[in-house]
Symmetry: C3
Subunit: 198 residues, 3 copies
């Protein structure tokens, strides 16, 4: 009854409301306040759709930067991003013709990807790589290693794997790697502070 | 006065504060708590800027996936994304020369768009389509239909329409289609949990 | 002690809890409620990674649109986005060979950038520009000026500058320009309502 009175903000007669009643309402309210969530977790969620060297680098710079700032980071590799995580030393058997064709045509891992612009038959990409070395910018190899050590989570999109015929045995060794569907990613992304499609 | 006392956390003398006062404060506080908004609606807002088959597919996978998870989804088609929604069976008259040229050069709807990579004169795109069929991945046609049934909202950017000379009569029949400016989209996007530029 | 009683929602004996105790709890609770932050600032944070005319235009339309709606806007120019902000009239000395090469190959400012599609040797880009004029859509020059007047903040990525050999003296005059690292951007972005990677 007090609940109703207070809820409607109506006048209450003195003496009717005991301190015990008040305390109970306070407890209710406190529980309510404690259940208010800030709405977002301190996390960056990145969809790595493009498999271009420059964009993949940007994704890792952001992910590792976020973790360095005390945030969490999740990267969801899908479509052209998927082959970036192939390990060129691993081979997977049991592929159908299409899977073999895709396996042949798509880049074999992160050292085979190119710049999205000014690739110039590979010259631009080589130039950028040597430049990064000279300027002490971490290479993609170093970025991936750092990301693994920092705890950046990597998700590989199951639908893309199925489409392109990739097997789990073809991907890099990475401490926090999972094979998931878009729903799993969205579940994480929707409570993240930052979401990017790269 | 109690408001002030409580607000500053100062010591209160016993007896001055009645239970009635306390109840009033409780009611105020309760109202305050109820007005705290989680800050974001359970919605995914996607800007579909690129008209590439792979990216448009990704946008629809995310939008329909979000709705399947109980979220709302809004897609804002702009620039190269706009012609994806043309209905090839519809014709719009009254276009100026530029409008006719754009109408001719831009893809006539979702079945005329290509992969952003490995299109290889259309071969890559055809290969991807037949692969999707084989692997039971919904085609773009099916995705659009599903999105309509699930209640995914589609916005078409008015500025892009004006620039490219498109008329409202040229677009697909879709249950939740609106022609809006960037402000309308931003209004929705800013309170969404997830925003993506694809 | 009351704290504990209320926190656990346990039964309280009448008479043990005075109104003074209750008032103190109310004050505590009030402070707690006031400290709940909506979690996000009313800001749009955009990473301008692509240096294509269409995408840069989209970024400025969104940023200026957001400010017009009463939001703040921050644009972080990185990678191919960086040369878009070069001032073609300014020259920077002291560059090494690589810096000179990049300076030569990358577009000299916003009037030298091209459409991401249908550039057709520059014809598509010219066509789009004349079309924008005809349809009274602000040109990129006007957009940048407007953004400056509206208070859109522009960040230039220090890592990209270092990689491409750009000097601070080469960039446009703009009221709100800063040279920052990815951490500074992420700090702003993580509390923004909208984040986009363009």
């Amino acid at each position: 009854m007090n609940e109703v009175l207070v809820g409607r903000g109506e006048e209450m007669r003195k003496g009717v409301l005991t301190t015990e009643d008040l305390a109970r309402q306070l407890a209710d309210l406190k529980r309510q306040v404690e259940n208010i969530k800030p709405g977002v977790d301190d996390r960056v969620s990145i969809i790595v759709f493009s498999g271009d060297l420059d964009k993949v680098l940007a994704a890792f710079v952001i992910a590792t930067g976020a973790v360095a700032m005390g945030m969490e980071a999740v990267m969801f590799f899908t479509f052209w991003g998927t082959p970036v995580l192939r390990d060129p030393k691993k081979k997977a058997g049991g592929k159908d013709l299409m899977g073999k064709m895709f396996g042949f045509m798509l880049p074999k891992g992160r050292n085979a990807i190119k710049l999205s612009k000014m690739n110039m038959g590979g010259m631009g990409t080589s130039m950028m790589k040597s430049l990064m070395k000279k300027k002490n910018v971490a290479s993609l190899d170093q970025m991936v290693e750092m990301a693994g050590e920092l705890g950046v989570k990597i998700y590989i999109c199951e639908m893309s794997m199925s489409l392109m015929g990739f097997k789990q045995g073809e991907f890099i060794d990475y401490p926090n790697l999972e094979y998931v569907g878009v729903a799993t990613f969205l579940e994480q992304a929707k409570n993240s502070k930052v979401q990017l499609f790269i």
